[in-house]
Symmetry: C2
Subunit: 198 residues, 2 copies
């Protein structure tokens, strides 16, 4: 990302940290970043676009943290639980920012579908690495792994949205994510077994 664009995104992150989604007033973002409103709109299609870009920065951060300290555990479900625990705490550490990013993500502008899909891919890779207990995904994932990763991230997003909407607290997100990880991993094992020996 080019310098000017990065400054814009960083400004948006600062404002979001302070006051959440509504505090990211694009006029303010532009003036704090020292650019004109038109320049902001040349780089970003919309407010959502801008916040999705911010979400991508945060995800890169998560990737770094995961690379430095890969989620550990004796079995796949524990490692997955550890991974989502890291991810959840990392996000919720700055609640206003998290809510803003989630809101932009959940709005689901079809114009940003490609970016959103790429975003999910990055999460899936981290989940699959955690499932395998590997530092990085080397072998191409099996269909079962992909399904599992999609299911897990879907549950996670719903939980985060529930948190953002005030339906429950951070601990619910982490606890319930752990329970679901256990169910899904058990289910995948069980299915695998029944398919090998039908």
């Amino acid at each position: 990302m080019e310098e000017r664009a990065r400054r814009i995104v960083e400004t948006a992150v600062e404002l979001a940290e302070e006051g959440g989604f509504e505090a990211v007033r694009l006029r303010d973002v532009a003036s704090h970043a020292g650019v004109a409103l038109g320049t902001l709109y040349r780089r970003f299609r919309s407010k959502e676009d801008l916040l999705i870009a911010a979400f991508e920065l945060e995800t890169a951060d998560l990737e770094r943290r995961v690379a430095q300290r890969p989620p550990r555990g004796d079995d796949a479900s524990e490692r997955v639980r550890a991974f989502f625990g890291m991810a959840t705490r990392g996000l919720i550490r700055r609640p206003n920012l998290a809510r803003a990013l989630l809101k932009a993500h959940a709005a689901g502008d079809p114009q940003l579908a490609k970016r959103t899909a790429a975003f999910h891919e990055r999460l899936h890779d981290m989940v699959i690495a955690a499932l395998r207990g590997a530092r990085r995904v080397e072998a191409v994932p099996s269909e079962a792994e992909r399904l599992l990763a999609r299911a897990l991230t879907r549950v996670w997003f719903s939980l985060l949205l529930g948190w953002a909407g005030g339906l429950h607290g951070q601990s619910t997100v982490i606890d319930e994510m752990g329970d679901c990880a256990e169910l899904l991993v058990l289910g995948a094992l069980s299915k695998d077994r029944s398919q090998r020996a039908p």
Copy 2:
């Protein structure tokens, strides 16, 4: 709901069917429903509030359909799959409306948390009935059933949001929901077995 409020919601539904979320301009809703803008705002806190009310109407519709034709299948996962198939098709039958309702739901205004929670409860009840193969939920649900129902509806919402955001089509929603239902139900069975005989 009182007559005036119902007329407002129905008008919103009509506009949403035609042109989605943006087509629900509150000035238009008010004038088409024959009330002043202020009256609309006396009944509904916001555009989201209005569309959540519309979502509740649609859910009541789903409840009626499920009561008339309970999801059938030889095991729990097939019945759950059948239920979400019904629900998905019922919603996506009117894509513009569905996207509008989902967008309002996903915005997750904390002021509407209570309503949203009640909404989820209704879904969970239907899911648990499907799990049991019962017409209605008679016995109080076990914790395992609740967990399963929450996990399933969470996956479903994420899938719907993905559909609404153009990430994938209706068939992906239905197919992947089926796959996840299988995994989760298998996982729950497997966990149950290991807990009974550890």
